[in-house]
Assembly symmetry: C2
Homo-oligomer: 199 residues x 2
Amino acid sequence: MAIRYPNGRKFTGTESSQKQAPKKELTYSNRGMTLEEDLNETNLFYLQRKKAVIHKKPTPVQIVQVDYPKRSAAVIKEAYFKQASTTDYNGVYRGRYLDFEAKETKNKKSFPLQNFHTHQIEHMKQVLAQDGITFVILRFSLTDEVYLLDGKDLIHFYDQKENARKSIRKADIEKLGFLIKIGYQPRIDYLKVIDSVYF
Amino acid sequence: MAIRYPNGRKFTGTESSQKQAPKKELTYSNRGMTLEEDLNETNLFYLQRKKAVIHKKPTPVQIVQVDYPKRSAAVIKEAYFKQASTTDYNGVYRGRYLDFEAKETKNKKSFPLQNFHTHQIEHMKQVLAQDGITFVILRFSLTDEVYLLDGKDLIHFYDQKENARKSIRKADIEKLGFLIKIGYQPRIDYLKVIDSVYF
């Protein structure tokens, strides 16, 4: 049986052992990292280089019961996941407010709109009304292609959902979105796209 | 025994019954609301009036064990509180990034600096470097006076902490900060101060 991390990622050895023995022709695709892990590393890179201050919001949890054992930390004994009312990532870059959601699909030719919730779309509209920058980062995980799609475009497609549209065609994402080159440091250099699109 | 909400606020009847029977001379001070509750209502007011998009970040929790019972929602069975790496509130207003922390004290003449953590001060410095707006909202709960103090001023006092400074004198807050009038809707109209100080 394969050993897996809680996030479903396969355990493939310690990080240091991977570092000590890299493959000769190292590609950065399909390394088994989730999009979230890649973005967390990217944001940490930006933070350390003083390029931007972007954080992922904590998972919202409804806490019901907490125990306070003597001489040790409080333990949450009963809690439930709540649905987020905003997108997952936000922060500040060159004076502008940045706000985005990141999702991946195993589909090859389309991105399912069910990855986004109505309240997230609503939030993106609110951010646009305040002149914030909002977008989504979409990853086609089988080919490890990552696109940045502007919030207005996502909203456009989402609002057609009522008319039986269930997904965005990859061809449309290629046309309207911006391919983000996958690298080593940072892994997903989305600020490069932000620079050229929003500034 | 007084019945209390999980946040420690006293249960004093249903909200609707309170609305139906307001006191004749209604003051908005010392209503037993926490600063967090007041700010959540204020931010909701701003959101609904399309004035600004400001949210409190969820409490960060390290989830250790989750049960997935049949036919019902996942239950978190073991989790721990983590220390936040940023301030609690952020969002966008008139194109600018807003970022703040809110704290209250029962002291009369000073505000203890232990209310703030080094990583929060560090975060505020990072936000300033990206030209974001950062500040703290300080409440003296006994007199229900609420001040907005610019992040640079807080940083100035905090960085003197090593030199035995344990708190900010209220006189300094009165001099450097901005008194926010407590109202009904919104309760803590801090955007009025933001308009005059940062725009």
